[in-house]
């Protein structure tokens, strides 16, 4: 019970800061904070898969693309309420995640990494094939326009809802099964856990989260969805965010999301690395350094600080 109180304090602090931010930040900074919220959702989703279940996905950008196109197309064709499109994106990505995950997850984790990488390269090519419906290289323009403040509010509200949802899932039977799978697949099977079921479930959930993030990602991009927005590097960024986040800590996921959400705009104002691809150099170098020096990611740093504070 004792451990719950600091966690609650953290939550309240984060919620309070988030609700004050719109009043103190300018419009541009609000858009940046919304960007962090979007990556928060994606990194949180991937953390369920990688951090809790021990499986790795290199293709969550593909699910962001599916979610983003869902929102853009529904908005363009039917003028659907945007929040509704996010729910649809959530559902579609969940199903696609199950379908893609099932064959890959019968085997060792390596295969999921392979399959998701191929998925991430493949999905952005599909709009080129069905260009009359999905806009080809020119992309799809949603008919709605949203303000940065709307985006900020919806992104963080969605983050809060999905965070609670993740907490509910992870504290229950499914969460225990996920952790058992991560710690030892053999022991998990021996305790009666259906490996493929739980692995696929974790993958579907995390894909659904990425779908919602993708919806918001497109809206943040002025409602414009195009293949080039969802290149392989986007997928890798989410994974990098999850690696920086480390395992299962609110602060870790926040740090990971802030890292991938803010770095592009920060580095573009720095002279040397600010060139178009300096960002990638920083991303790549940073994740390698984190893996070498701080294997548990930011979460382990928080845990260490906490222990340090107690001692």
């Amino acid at each position: 019970m004792k451990a719950r109180i600091p966690a609650l304090v953290s939550l309240v602090t984060v919620a309070a800061v988030l609700s004050i931010l719109p009043f103190v930040l300018g419009d541009y900074n609000i858009s940046l904070a919304a960007q962090v919220g979007i990556f928060f959702i994606a990194v949180l989703g991937l953390d369920i898969l990688t951090g809790y279940t021990g499986q790795i996905s290199i293709g969550h950008g593909a699910f962001m693309a599916i979610g983003g196109y869902t929102t853009a197309v529904m908005s363009r064709d039917h003028d659907t309420n945007l929040v509704l499109t996010m729910l649809v994106a959530f559902a579609i990505c969940f199903v696609v995640g199950l379908v893609v995950g099932l064959p890959a997850l019968r085997l060792s984790g390596v295969y999921l990494a392979l399959v998701t990488f191929a998925l991430a390269v493949s999905v952005p090519l599909l709009p080129l094939k069905w260009s009359s419906y999905l806009g080809g290289r020119d992309g799809v323009q949603a008919s709605h326009e949203v303000s940065n403040l709307w985006l900020y509010g919806v992104a963080w509200a969605a983050s809060a809802i999905l965070f609670v949802l993740a907490w509910l899932i992870l504290r229950g039977r499914a969460g225990r099964a996920f952790r058992a799978v991560r710690d030892s697949e053999i022991a998990a099977v021996a305790s009666g856990i259906e490996l493929p079921v739980y692995k696929t479930l974790a993958f579907g959930i995390s894909a659904a989260y990425a779908g919602v993030a993708g919806s918001l990602f497109v809206l943040a991009n002025n409602g414009f969805a195009a293949p080039d927005e969802f290149g392989i590097v986007l997928s890798l960024q989410i994974l990098i965010g999850a690696a920086v986040a480390g395992l299962g800590s609110l602060w870790g996921v926040l740090a990971g999301a802030a890292f991938v959400g803010l770095l592009p705009s920060i580095s573009s104002s720095v002279p040397v690395i600010g060139s178009a691809h300096g960002r990638d150099v920083v991303f790549g170098a940073a994740v390698i350094l984190v893996m070498l020096l701080l294997p548990g990611g930011f979460a382990s740093l928080v845990a260490w600080l906490r222990r340090f504070g107690r001692a």
Partner: protein
């Protein structure tokens, strides 16, 4: 580590059982080859596409072989393998800009790739390897982004072109026109594959590398420097990747930072088709994917050239659904 060693040992022991499927696989391959020959005799277009497919497929195969070598040595899929190949191709481009001839640059690049791969393993992969496979995979993902950024930084994202290594001559064989380029690509790749095979089969270093990959503990007992062998394995993989990159460039007629991304997916498909652990399977898988992609795009109206990569993705899924061990793989048996 011990568990990993046991599982490898077990898989070694169970290899005998896998040969039960070998005649069946052999039969399929012979049937496919016969089909290709018959089709080629009936249609010049078919023949041309098949030959092209074999040349392109050889390139996918050699990159798949690089992936398999790394996987066997360290149980890691190197997602940066394609980007590494792309980067070394840029090195060759730079060497040619500095005045080397194509083939001088070719061999210099292979040497550089060998060193680069070895150093990367020692510096970046080794420290995280004992922790988990996921950590190592994430490092290769970081490497992917890093290399991409560095190449864009140094050379820019615009198209570059290199002199053609094989000229533009076209051979005519009974109504079928075959560019010398494709013959050259195929020959270079096959020579590289044979040399690597000979290295593994006939030299002491090769024996050491095989031992280190299959039974690290026992190999260390008899004096094999396991750590070095695994690092050299990465170096060799980078070298094979460099061959793949250098042979991809002329087939695409241009050099750009995204050069190897689709090729890497084809190589994944090839490796999975071959069983992920089998070097011969990787090469045969590559040839199969190359020919299949070429023929499918030509003869199946629904699959246009944009769908080549999604098709490769579908192949991966299909193999995992139908025969997860691929053509030449074997089931991994784990003992608790």
């Amino acid at each position: 580590m011990a568990a990993a060693a046991t599982s490898r040992l077990e898989s070694l022991r169970n290899r005998g059982a896998a040969f039960g499927g070998a005649p069946f696989v052999g039969l399929i391959l012979v049937a496919v080859a016969a089909g290709l020959v018959v089709g080629s005799l009936r249609s010049a277009t078919f023949a041309q596409l098949t030959v092209q497919g074999l040349a392109l497929g050889a390139v996918y195969g050699i990159l798949a072989l690089a992936l398999v070598l790394v996987y066997r040595a360290t149980r890691v899929i190197n997602f940066a393998q394609g980007e590494l190949a792309m980067a070394t191709t840029y090195v060759a481009y730079q060497l040619i800009q500095w005045g080397l001839s194509y083939w001088e640059a070719f061999f210099a690049t292979l040497a550089i790739a060998l060193v680069l791969g070895t150093v990367l393993e020692l510096a970046l992969i080794r420290p995280v390897l004992h922790r988990s496979a996921i950590a190592a995979v994430i490092v290769t993902v970081g490497l992917f982004v890093l290399i991409d950024g560095i190449v864009n930084w140094i050379w820019g994202g615009d198209f570059k072109s290199m002199p053609s290594p094989f000229g533009t001559k076209i051979y005519h064989v009974g109504g079928v026109s075959i560019a010398r380029l494709y013959v050259g690509m195929f020959v270079v790749v096959i020579i590289a594959v044979l040399l690597v095979w000979a290295l593994f089969r006939f030299t002491k270093v090769g024996l050491g590398m095989r031992a280190a990959a299959l039974r690290p503990a026992e190999a260390a007992f008899v004096g094999v420097r396991v750590e070095w062998m695994l690092a050299i394995g990465w170096g060799l993989a980078a070298l094979l990747g460099a061959v793949a990159g250098l042979m991809t460039e002329p087939s695409q007629f241009l050099l750009e930072p995204t050069l190897m991304q689709p090729i890497l997916v084809y190589a994944f498909a090839a490796a999975v088709l071959g069983g992920l652990e089998s070097p011969a399977g990787a090469v045969i898988g590559g040839l199969a994917i190359g020919v299949a992609l070429n023929l499918v795009v030509q003869y199946v109206p629904a699959i246009t050239s944009e769908l080549q990569t999604p098709f490769a993705f579908a192949v991966i899924l299909a193999v995992l659904l139908i025969k997860p061990t691929g053509l030449f793989g074997h089931r991994e048996v784990r003992r608790v």
